[in-house]
Amino acid sequence: MVSDKDVSYVADLAHLDLTSEERARMLRDLNSILAYIDRLNQLDTANIEPMAQVASRYGEPKDKAGEFSYALRADELSPCLPREGALRNAPVSDGTFFKVPKVIER
């Protein structure tokens, strides 16, 4: 069972504050969803490999360069987003950098 304390701990990890109403609702919803997820424990998976992605399932075409070679590219310069483009959506910037509230206190 998830407790109030767990909700606070996880909210902190996720950089969320949540209002007291949201916390109460979250406690209820997480417990109901996790109770449903617990049915996974009906399965014995001791000898089953975890599956993190799909490509492992269909077997990649292999060439001389080896598996997944198509995912590699030559290390060459190519055009990228110019600084103005990268900064255009910044909430606060000085034209060169993104600006944020002070990080280091003296």
């Binding site: 997820i37 399965l43 089953i48 255009r88």
Partner: protein, 481 residues
């Protein structure tokens, strides 16, 4: 010209034969959107300048008598989770309300290169998290067939635009059913291609190992044309496979004689609505009449798909959504004195309830002490679910199931119970987890006139057979009295 009836094929022919110019066609679509969309809410943003510019380009090609590209002048809509250069891209979230993308998603640039005209960006559940479109940060979408009902989600706007005739075709994304489920609810065709068939570059990430871009259209033939334009390896997405793309049109019109169609018992259990069951059983009968062999199969781990999905998807989402911190783009809430406080205020203000719920669940299952019990456990069960499909596809060529357990439900019906909402995807999440392709085609209507969808699943990278079977079923069903 009745533009709401246009297909990709007929729109292109109309342009090619100069029955109408691309510019005039775009104008007619914007008139129709203005007249119809207020009641439906399928669009979030119209990009008229970009659309008319592309239309002028197509008209110039046509005037010169040049060969026209395959989607020349076809007006389409793009789910607002795909980046579009110089056009707002929100993912249906307040946290990206003012975000203007600096580059085009690969699928967007490929569709435009193929001649398609992008009318606008469609509404969706926030960050594609939802099954009803009620989680949009802006406004819900209503089902064009019945405005008191949901269009499905998360690509509800893209499905509704095609159903309402305010776009000829559209693009969506499917992570747990978000293309096939709304296609079923709105009575259109929706395809989730194989994972790795279509680039995710420029798709705002929800769950990276599960996100699949794919098309909506009125016909299977149109889906083949749309898929042709977007499929294939992309150097900007290392998970796209370098596997040859067939000519999908070649498979449209081929008979299904001798093909083996698997029917999994687990998808026809007591939770299935009686009318949906009857409609899909008739669809299967049509395939049998057309010469396919119907084979009973089992996908035994199906009951574990939803819990597996809600661990894997939320874990990936909690990681992907960590980037929304008010620093580089999107909303920054005011008043945060420290960096950490600024992050929290921004995320508290910008994210909606369902997104927060999933971030919390995902963070929890990844946190110290729970990682093995939940996240690794779910990944192991994902292997089992995937093996179910591997084994089934040694016996059959495709698998046919209902797309959803019920037709479209009412707005507000499931909003208070997240688990009930999650179960709307019970027949679609399995294919996302295994990465196999799936299509939903219209398969009759309920007594109330609500569309019912039939789902066809295939082997990895075998969209061609899916389209072949779907096309035969579509025509047999259309010919039924």
């Amino acid at each position: 010209m009745e533009i709401d009836l246009l297909t990709v094929e007929s729109a292109r022919t109309a342009i090619l034969e100069k029955q109408i110019s691309a510019s005039a066609l775009v104008g007619s679509f914007y008139q129709r959107i203005e007249a119809e969309d207020a009641a439906i809410g399928a669009y979030l943003t119209l990009c008229k300048e970009r659309a008319y510019k592309q239309a002028a380009h197509i008209d110039a090609l046509a005037d010169k008598g040049d060969d026209l590209p395959p989607l020349a002048g076809v007006p389409i809509a793009i789910k607002d989770v795909f980046t579009t250069r110089d056009v707002p891209t929100t993912a249906g979230s307040k946290i990206l309300q003012n975000f203007v993308a600096p580059y085009d998603a690969t699928v967007v640039s490929r569709l435009e290169s193929a001649g398609a005209i992008i009318l606008g960006k469609t509404n969706c559940d926030e960050f594609a998290m939802g099954s009803s479109n009620e989680n949009s940060g802006f406004y819900p979408v209503r089902n064009p067939v019945d405005h008191t009902r949901v269009p499905g989600g998360s690509s509800g706007g893209s499905a509704a635009a095609v159903a309402a005739g305010t776009a000829v075709a559209s693009l969506g994304s499917d992570t747990g059913g978000s293309i096939r489920q709304p296609a079923a609810f709105c009575g259109v065709v929706g395809l989730m291609p194989t994972y790795g068939r279509v680039s995710r570059y420029g798709l705002i990430a929800f769950a990276s190992s599960l996100d699949h871009p794919g098309p909506f259209a009125k016909t299977v033939q149109d889906i083949a044309l749309m898929l042709q334009a977007i499929a294939g390896h992309d150097p900007f997405d290392s998970t796209t496979a370098d596997i040859a793309v067939p000519n999908y049109g070649d498979y449209i019109g081929r008979p299904v004689t001798g093909l083996k169609v698997g029917v999994p018992a687990e998808y026809f259990d007591e939770g299935l609505d009686g009318e949906v069951r009857a409609a899909v059983e008739l669809g299967i009968q049509e395939l049998k009449n057309a010469g396919a062999e119907i084979v009973s199969i089992s996908l035994p781990h199906t009951p574990y798909a939803i819990p597996t999905y809600y661990v894997v998807a939320t874990a990936e989402a909690s990681s992907n959504l960590a980037r929304y911190d008010g620093v580089r783009y999107g909303l920054r809430a005011s008043g945060g004195k420290s960096l950490a406080e600024m992050y929290r205020r921004t995320r508290d203000t910008g994210f909606g309830a369902e997104v927060k719920r999933r971030i919390m669940l995902g963070t929890y299952v990844l946190s110290a002490g729970y990682y093995d019990a939940y996240y690794l456990k779910a990944q192991r069960v994902r292997s089992l679910l995937s093996r179910d499909f591997d084994q089934a596809f040694t016996k059959v060529d495709v698998i046919v199931t209902p797309t959803t357990p019920t037709p479209a439900f009412k707005l507000g019906e499931k909003t208070d119970d997240p688990l009930a909402m999650y179960l709307a995807d019970i027949f679609t999440v399995t294919a996302d987890l295994a990465g196999v392709p799936g299509i939903s085609i219209p398969c009759g209507k309920s007594k109330e006139g609500l569309p019912i969808g039939m789902q066809i699943l295939g082997r990895h990278f075998d969209e061609a057979t899916l389209l072949q079977v779907a096309h035969v079923a579509e025509h047999a069903l259309a010919a039924r009295p």
